[in-house]
Amino acid sequence: MKIAISTTAAGEAAILEMRFGRCPYFAVYDSESKEFEWFENAGIKATSGAGTGAAQALINRNIDIVISGQFGPKAVQVLEAAQIKMLLAPANLPLNEVIAKWQADELKEYAIQRY
């Protein structure tokens, strides 16, 4: 299973970035190999549609679960349609603790707002 986490930087010292669409990097954790890799989020420089662009990047990388601090409404539509599970984690949490909380099943699922 592949888990994407919005992070402030690349590297294991990174912490959780609260914003999904405008996070600088995504960390991708492979639950089988137990290894991380990082990719830069093009959304940080996008003139518009950062959320939909970031969601598309996760789809293209076959992500199963995404963990962030908050999700915008358009990103949610794409992630939901792509059946990528959205989980919420508190700000400034170090990456290894995000994974520990996920493994302990302590992360809340994002409640989709219907307008």
């Binding site: 996008a46 003139t47 939909t52 662009g53 598309q56 789809i59 358009k74 539509q77 794409v78 349609a81």
Partner: protein, 283 residues
């Protein structure tokens, strides 16, 4: 002759200047390009005889021919398309109607459909001399984030042999730039405060990028400081008019009464302003 009345800072009196200038200028045409909040009609009280929708072309995907290759989503500068396992999602709110997706689609699976984003209302208003002049305003639909196409459409109605007054939206972003493009002269309305000066400098920067000459009107000129005057001298920008604060004028404004019908002195000031602008353009 096409003149934009712009400001940088909001609330300095663009519409006051634009509408009063329209009321006294011979062969005037007034276009309210502040389509998010058009308010010139409150003072000009036009008779509207024609309404047209403004639409934006947005992509429509034919699911039968789409191969879900994702070329369209990659090409979209605005991230308005997302490709998931079984379909392409279109976010009309993000679409700028550029047509790139349709152009790059290898399967020709994209056609354009139109989305109404606002409307134009055309008519005429009565000038102080009793004649009538052309009035147009654009009105953006509530929630529509993209106003430049409405401004562009309104500007297609410009009558070249007229004294065309474009009432610009505030700020220095795309809607203001869209308004200024192609004009012969720009009048910036400001107030003598640090906020007025800061935003004026930004607005003058836009005009200079577009190579449009400009002049300044200082509204509520007896309040605040002298920094606008110093700035204009330093930058060699003419001050076309200074309007001191006048409680009676503010009261008339609050009732939707034009300054030029309220005060004979102001009518003369605006007639002089018209002559000064014409002279500046011909320089």
């Amino acid at each position: 002759m096409i003149i934009a009345i712009a400001s940088g800072k909001g609330g300095t009196g663009k519409t006051t200047i634009a509408t009063n200038l329209a009321l006294v200028s011979p062969a005037a045409q007034y276009l309210d390009c502040d389509v998010e909040e058009p308010n010139g009609h409150l003072f000009l009280k036009p008779e509207i005889d024609q309404k047209t929708d403004v639409t934006l072309p947005i992509p429509q995907i034919d699911a039968a021919t789409c191969s879900l290759c994702g070329t369209c989503a990659t090409a979209c500068e605005f991230n308005a398309l997302a490709v998931i396992s079984e379909k392409v999602m279109v976010f009309a709110d993000l679409c700028h109607g550029c047509g790139t997706c349709m152009f790059v689609c290898p399967e020709n699976a994209i056609t354009e459909t139109s989305k109404v984003i606002g409307k134009l209302e055309n008519g005429s208003a009565e000038s102080v001399s009793g004649g009538r002049f052309a009035f147009t305003h654009g009105v953006s639909n509530i929630g529509n984030p993209l106003t430049p196409p409405i401004i562009k459409k309104a500007k297609q109605l410009i009558k070249n042999d007229h004294f065309v007054i474009l009432d610009s939206p505030p700020g220095t972003s795309c809607p203001m730039v869209q308004t200024l493009i192609g004009t012969d002269y720009c009048v910036f309305v400001t107030e003598p405060t640090p906020f007025g000066l800061n935003d004026l400098e930004l607005a003058v920067g836009v005009a200079r990028q577009l190579e449009i000459r400009c002049g300044i009107i200082i509204n509520r000129s007896d309040s605040g400081d002298k920094e606008i005057i110093n700035y204009c001298q330093r930058e060699n920008i003419p001050i076309l008019l200074e309007i001191p604060f006048d409680r009676d004028l503010a009261f008339a404004y609050s009732k939707g009464e034009a300054a030029v019908t309220h005060s004979a002195a102001l009518r003369t000031s605006f007639e002089d302003l018209h002559a000064k602008i014409v002279a500046e353009v011909k320089k």
